[in-house]
């Protein structure tokens, strides 16, 4: 443990293209890109499922089945199977990470929309809101806390799993792990693991704050009034 900390404190490891800041940024970039792509796909599907109450079994089953494939195996398979795989290592990496990130975001989105009181949606429709207006002005804002919850859960998994990118010669914090493995450089491996864990914790906290910030004021008031009742917050995973 101490060796790992010493490794981290060594100023030499904090500079250059192989230093901690560079790897951290690479890791963040991979995570960010993954969440962006997965977010677009999963939110679109999740909001559609939630609003129409259709296709849930199919989409959730499909995304769950994809998710069940071992990430490392899928990564290597895609990398060697397709021509671009090794040259553009980022593509297979993003594919496997997006597959990983979709189910929790999807669940957060449809659970969020489904959690909106049907009476509210019915009243909105009766007032003359179009389906799009119902989705964006009513369902989406009220679903936001659960949507952010889904993103948060996806982010944690992606941050931890993005280390595999290094397996097919990409950057990120996984570099420290995979580089140290053949050399049996345990202090560096430990340091790499600690960095991943710290990054995950910091990002988790960030998402927690965002999740609180997006809770609509009126909904917060409602929860305050019903403090005695248990909050009906569902975990998105």
């Amino acid at each position: 443990m101490l060796d790992g900390l010493n490794w981290l404190l060594d100023p030499a490891h904090w500079t250059g293209s192989r230093g901690i800041p560079t790897r951290l940024l690479e890791h963040l970039a991979i995570t960010g890109m993954t969440l962006l792509i997965a977010g677009v796909i999963a939110l679109a599907a999740g909001l559609a499922i939630g609003h129409t109450r259709r296709g849930r079994g199919l989409v959730v089953g499909l995304s769950g089945a994809l998710r069940a494939m071992p990430t490392l195996g899928l990564l290597v398979f895609i990398a060697v199977q397709f021509g671009f795989g090794v040259r553009l290592a980022i593509i297979p990496t993003l594919i496997v990470l997006v597959v990983l990130a979709i189910p929790p975001i999807l669940a957060g989105a449809y659970a969020g929309v489904e959690s909106v009181d049907p009476a509210t949606v019915d009243a909105s429709r009766a007032l003359g809101l179009t389906e799009w207006q119902i989705l964006w002005r009513v369902e989406f804002p009220l679903a936001l806390p659960l949507i952010v919850g889904g993103l948060r859960s996806a982010m944690l998994q992606v941050v931890a799993t993005a280390t595999v990118a290094a397996y097919i010669s990409l950057g990120g914090l996984g570099r420290f792990l995979f580089d140290a493995l053949p050399l049996r450089d345990y202090p560096q491996m430990l340091a790499g693991a600690l960095l991943v864990a710290a990054l995950a914790l910091i990002l988790d906290l960030l998402f927690l704050l965002v999740g609180k910030a997006v809770l609509p004021t009126g909904v917060r008031a409602a929860r305050g009034n019903r403090r005695s009742k248990t909050p009906t917050e569902r975990t998105a995973a």
């Binding site: 509210t120 009243a123 009766a126 007032l127 003359g128 809101l129 009126g218 009034n225």
Partner: protein, 360 residues
């Protein structure tokens, strides 16, 4: 004018909710659909703004078939108030009221000014404008719901059991308020309820529906009460029992009105006793003591609907053998009155009652 023309509705599960329903609802008056659950009343209401599509038949608003109109456009022209207010929880009172005007591209300042105006109309303190629905009482939420329904200044206002979820005292207030608003605005209101008292209080016209959207009777409250079309209607409005089966009883020179449960509903006022008699039904749990019937009656809880006053000869009489017939004060212990008793006491027979404590 809203016209139902041979409307039927069969739901996908096979239930026939409405079967060949035809009716004309006059403009600028309140028509109440009343019936128990499964009578199709809400289904009928929701067909007017195309929240439910009929399986067959037409609905015309001012001779225009609603099926030919875009549902969104149609709904924005019609006010809608529902039971649990249906307010948007993430928007303030003001934003809720202004929702549809803003969607219709009414300038913001104008929509806000109008929303404030409407809050006043429905009796809401303007200090509540910035509150969220969850911070309001049930009654206040319903008022916001009504204000929102009126926001686009619609000719038609649909109300689906709007006061069903609030407590009786607040409901009473809201009903009075609605009548006041209606006197000012004169909208074509279609009101759905399962509460016959509410129907008689609010409705210019009342449609009593039985299962499958069949019209059991349609008419003014007076017509229905004085001449129930069938056993079903008589039973539904409770014409021959309870609070509406009123009989007169003389005691100490006063004429008491006794309801079907043997409770004193009130005292027939001297000024009204000679004229056309209007009698209110009394409270259920407590004696109201002395009631002067007439204009003041409106202030008393429960004095909402005209009761049916039985004449002395054909009145289902109060069983004179009941301990109840003696002192009124004993009623609490023995409220049993045999209304079907063959030896119907004549109203005059009560004169022997020694002491009647009308203040109890």
């Amino acid at each position: 004018m809203i016209e139902f023309d041979g409307i039927s509705k069969r739901f996908p599960d096979g239930t026939l909710a409405v079967d060949n329903f035809s009716l004309r609802l006059p403009s600028r008056e309140i028509t109440v659909f009343v019936g128990s659950s499964g009578s199709g009343k809400t289904t009928l209401l929701r067909m007017i703004n195309r929240m439910v599509e009929p399986t067959s038949g037409r609905i015309l608003i001012d001779d225009e078939d609603v099926a030919s109109l875009n549902p969104v456009t149609l709904r924005r022209r019609i006010g809608y108030v529902m039971q649990n207010s249906g307010l948007l929880p993430h928007r303030t009172v003001l934003q809720n009221i202004a929702t549809v005007p803003l969607l219709n591209r009414v300038p913001k300042a104008e929509a806000v000014a109008r929303a404030h105006e409407l809050m006043e109309t429905v009796g809401l303190d303007s200090a509540l404008a910035k509150r969220y629905p969850a911070e309001l009482s049930g009654g206040q939420q319903q008022r916001v719901g009504v204000a929102r329904g009126l926001a686009v200044n619609p000719n038609i206002l649909l109300m689906d059991e709007p006061f069903g979820a609030v407590d009786p005292i607040v409901r009473r207030e809201l009903q009075e308020e609605l009548l006041r608003i209606q006197r000012e605005l004169a909208k074509t209101i279609v009101f759905v309820t399962h509460d016959i008292d509410e129907a008689f209080l609010l409705g210019d016209h009342v449609t009593i529906l039985s299962r499958g959207g069949h019209v059991a009777q349609h008419g003014s409250p007076d017509e229905i009460l004085s001449n129930p079309a069938s056993e079903f209607v008589a039973d539904f409005i409770g014409a021959d029992r309870g609070r509406r089966a009123l009989t007169l009883r003389q005691s100490e020179g006063r004429t008491l009105v006794v309801d079907g449960t043997g409770r004193i509903a009130g005292v027939l006022g001297a000024e009204t006793a000679t004229g056309p008699v209007s009698v209110g039904a009394g409270g259920r749990d407590e004696h109201l003591g002395e009631i002067t019937l007439g204009t003041e009656a409106a202030d008393l809880p429960g004095l909402d609907t005209p009761g049916e006053l039985g004449s002395s000869s054909e009145a289902p009489g109060v069983d004179t053998t009941s301990p109840n017939s003696g002192e009124l004060g004993s009623e609490n212990e023995a409220p049993e009155v045999d209304t079907t008793s063959p030896n119907s006491g004549e109203l005059g027979s009560e004169n022997e009652a020694p002491e009647v404590d009308t203040t109890r």
